[in-house]
Amino acid sequence: MNRLTIIGLVIVAVLVIVAVFAHWIAPHDISTTNLAMRYLPPSSEHWFGTDSTGRDIFSRVVFGARISLQVGLVVVAVSALIGTLMGAISGYYGGWVDRFVSGYLFNVFLAFPGLLLAIAMVAFLGAGLNKLILALCIIGWVGYARLIRGQVLKVREYDFVQAARALGASDARILFIHILPNAIQPLIVQASLGMAGAVLSEAALSFLGLGVPPPAPSWGVMIEEARDLSTLQAAPHALIFPGIAIALTVLAFNFIGDGLREYLDPRQRTR
């Protein structure tokens, strides 16, 4: 394991602890506004300062971790599950199922910029956490499906699969007991990179006002609130701290993904 992967793992561990114990860690209430205390610079009382309505930025960043990880986990879990099933069925059965899934669905989803599809869906459905998650799952499953389909096509030809078939194992048994466990490894890499993508997309959509509605402390919402000129002038820290939080989270999951990829594919280690 290389150094960057370990850094990534440490950051993610800290994030998870912060998200789980947000209530104990956050020193202030995240929604109490106090205009007398607006734009305060970072201090021992307010570690990250206060925003344009006097809310404590540190506490909001802490609770923001909860939203980001929650969205990331649900999106990755659901898209990976759907993607694995679709990819496995398409790769295993081939024929018209495969032609439909890989020839048609994959092409359609790849032809569409993911963020645009998510924006369009949320635009019509209306903003909200659940709709955001739904939109991200709809654009997210294809990556996993393509990966698993390719893996299944490869593993399907192995001798032990032939042996299982010769012994009279059912299709479901061959697919789920014999093929998938041997095909699923690269999924971990994809899932880690997918977490980074989901965290980014959540923040982006919330920034556009299409994700988690304010006053929820989503990092994207915090950045949107911090970017008007008077707040930028008086309190640039209101922008910087949630920005750092997003960058660190994305970086950490990318480090883990890259590290895992190298670990699973030793040929890449020398590069």
Partner: protein
């Protein structure tokens, strides 16, 4: 030779077929997305206080009084759903028929043609995407070459850190930070708008930052890979100086994968422009989509923008594919 020709014709036909299917699906999705709107679009636009006549007039004008698709399952008076066949006389075919005439409907808000609204804004977005790409190339190629030729040194590591930052910092963080530094603190550039020529600098840099990071990494690994090839040894043995070897031989071959990424990224840039345009109030398609379309719930405008952005994306990908095939004949055969 004959089979090869037949092969390439069949391959071409297959790609055209897939393209048509993709376009059909995208248009259908955009058409049907409006059915996802919770409640009645007419109420969303006119408000609860409008009179029934106003509602009826609005629905008729925008074709909303017609059935949404070839069939539907409306509730009868007992609350049970029944299958009803409407035939070709429905909103879905209306939208298609209008589209084929080049008509994307009229704005729900100000009654202007959506096509005009979009093509007024389109040049600004293309301009932004092209400048972003130019900035990305201007940063990435020298940085990637320097990092690749000085592999493992301090310069290489510094370039990698810069690239990593560019990838992990999203545009909606970079953009406002640039506004803070260059507009609020230094007062060199305007924070938003499109009036002076210099107004494009911050948005183009914001939009191009991620791309330049990705490109830097690609150019670097391409250069490292190509430097190990035999033709490099030959070129050096001929007595060419290192500069010519790197920029004339290595870069030319190393740029093939970069071109693909550039083409694929043009589409990503157009989609990403939505966020950048919002940050800088850049009057392109993205701002039209977010502010006039989504912000004012003008669903016709949303449909038109989504359609045009996706089509541009699809065409950009198609052109990339063609350029890629032309650059690397090995792919043509396989």
């Amino acid at each position: 030779m004959k089979t090869k020709l037949r092969h390439s014709i069949l391959g071409g036909l297959r790609r055209v077929l897939i393209l048509l299917l993709v376009v059909w699906t995208v248009v259908s999705l955009v058409t049907l997305l409006i059915e996802l709107v919770p409640g009645d679009p007419a109420v969303a636009i006119l408000g609860e206080q409008a009179t029934p006549e106003q509602f009826a007039q609005f629905r008729e004008k925008h074709g909303l009084d017609r059935p949404p698709f070839f069939f539907s399952f409306p509730r009868d008076t007992n609350g049970e759903r029944h299958f009803v066949w409407h035939g070709a006389d429905n909103r879905y075919t209306d939208y298609w028929a209008a589209l084929l005439r080049g008509d994307m409907g009229r704005s729900f808000r100000n009654d202007r043609s959506v096509k005009d609204l979009i093509f007024e804004r389109y040049p600004a977005t293309i301009e932004l995407a092209i400048f972003a790409m130019l900035i990305a190339i201007l940063i990435a190629i020298p940085l990637g070459v320097i990092a690749g030729t000085n592999r493992g040194t301090l310069i290489d590591n510094a370039a990698s850190v810069i690239a990593l930052l560019g990838i992990s910092l999203p545009s909606f963080v970079i953009g406002p930070m640039l506004v803070y530094v260059f507009a609020v603190k230094l007062r060199w550039l305007a924070p938003s708008g499109r009036f002076e020529w210099s107004d494009i600098i911050l948005p183009a840099f914001t939009l191009g930052a991620a791309l330049s990071a990705i490109l830097t990494r690609m150019v670097r690994s391409s250069v490292i890979e190509e430097l190990g090839e035999d033709y490099v040894r030959t070129a050096r043995a001929k007595g060419l100086n290192e500069r010519t070897v790197v920029y004339k031989h290595v870069l030319k071959n190393g740029l093939i994968p970069v071109v693909t990424i550039l083409g694929l990224q043009l589409g990503v840039l157009l989609a990403g422009a939505i966020i950048t345009e919002k940050i800088f109030g850049w009057p392109g398609l993205g701002l039209l989509l977010v502010e006039d379309g989504i912000g004012k719930r003008d669903y016709r405008v949303v449909q038109g923008c989504v359609l045009v952005i996706s089509m541009t994306y699809i065409i950009a990908n198609l052109l990339t594919d063609m350029v890629y095939r032309w650059l690397d004949p090995r792919i043509r055969v396989s």
